[in-house]
């Protein structure tokens, strides 16, 4: 068994790439999979804090590439899931310290002993993004149901097609079912129709995502969180399971009716 390399990207910044990586990796590790996360955002590393591993960093990916340490030494084991590791980005270097072939080599070295390698791509469509997709077997594009995020996602999908990376799968993040019901937010169907790629998950807007980030404990570990459930479902789909999509439209019907009654609409 050799690992599947999955790159998470978006075009626009701030749509939830890093959150998605941390949550999918944690959910896969909770399912017993061997997972390595790679932070591809050289100079702006963040995956370490989202995963709660910022105090354990000794070496980073550029140290591996430039031969200052062995690959194993840069792999930080997770606190709760011993089958999950993080390779952090360098914080003080520019993105030219890494090349696409470096990423391919590192992933190939990891493949034999890993089930999933998940790469957190930086925002944008430049060097860091190119590095992050170089080794990908599969690409997940994260977007929000919002004009600028959808537009940038479309640019990224176009580039992935031009690079013959195959058609990526879409994660619609931070969907607010109340706004969708009130026709004040693009629905999942609207976004899918606009982008024309396959859907792998819809993650509802959920305060517990921020609470999880604050604690460095991804929201998938919170069994009551709707967003956590959505990420667990995506992780199962990545493992090839057929998981039905969550019903998001009706859960807030009561709250929505209340808002209309009180004129807050």
């Amino acid at each position: 068994m050799t690992a599947q390399v999955i790159t998470v990207t978006s075009g626009k910044g701030g749509v939830g790439k890093t959150t998605a990586v941390a949550n999918l990796a944690t959910a896969l590790a909770a399912d017993g999979k061997r997972v390595v996360c790679i932070d591809g955002d050289i100079g702006l590393r963040n995956l370490d804090v989202i995963m709660g591993l910022e105090n354990r960093i000794v070496y980073d990916i550029v140290d591996v590439i430039e031969g200052r340490c062995k690959l194993k030494q840069a792999m930080i084991r997770d606190k709760h899931y011993p089958s999950m590791y993080l390779i952090p980005a360098a914080q003080t270097r520019d993105k030219n310290a890494v090349s696409p072939s470096d990423m391919v080599r590192i992933c190939n070295d990891l493949r034999p002993d890993t089930d999933f390698i998940i790469i957190d791509s930086p925002a944008g469509i430049e060097r860091g993004f190119r590095n992050s997709i170089a080794a990908a077997d599969r690409v997940l594009v994260v977007t929000n149901p919002e004009v600028s995020a959808v537009r940038d996602a479309d640019r990224v999908v176009g580039i992935l097609e031009a690079e013959e990376k195959g058609s990526p799968s879409l994660i619609i993040n931070r969907l607010n079912p109340v706004l969708v019901r009130n026709n004040d937010m693009l629905s999942a169907e609207d976004v899918l129709d606009l982008l024309g790629i396959q859907l792998i998950g819809i993650v509802p807007e959920d305060e517990s995502v921020i609470i999880g980030s604050n604690r460095g404990a991804p929201v998938v570990t919170d069994t009551k969180s709707r967003a956590g459930q959505a990420f667990r479902n995506i992780a199962r789909r990545l493992q090839g399971q057929d998981v039905p999509f969550m019903e998001l439209e009706h859960q807030n019907a009561l709250w929505s009716a209340f808002q209309r009654l009180t004129g807050r609409k």
């Binding site: 537009r151 176009g158 009130n182 026709n183 937010m185």
Partner: protein
């Protein structure tokens, strides 16, 4: 009341605006360039057939992830020959 209805349609307006923007992003063609293309096309066709330039419709349409240029060019006076 007006404000209420305006808010109601914001998702539809987002979708409409995105549909236009994405077509132009994907083809790398600005609305002005599309207009110039239309003019050139009309000039070329007019050399051979009599058409009504004001009735011509030229638009970029999406079909999944592919784009197509759709032209509707009504011809002028074709039926006259048949009738005669």
């Amino acid at each position: 009341m007006f404000n209420f209805f305006k808010r109601k349609q914001s998702a539809a307006s987002a979708k409409e605006r995105l549909q236009l923007v994405l077509v132009h992003d994907r083809t790398d063609l600005t609305p002005a360039q599309l207009e110039a293309l239309k003019d050139d096309l009309l000039k070329a066709i007019s050399k051979y057939i009599d058409i009504d330039p004001d009735a011509v419709q030229l638009a970029l349409e999406r079909d999944g992830r592919s784009q197509r240029l759709v032209a509707d060019i009504p011809l002028r006076g074709v039926s006259r020959h048949r009738a005669g």
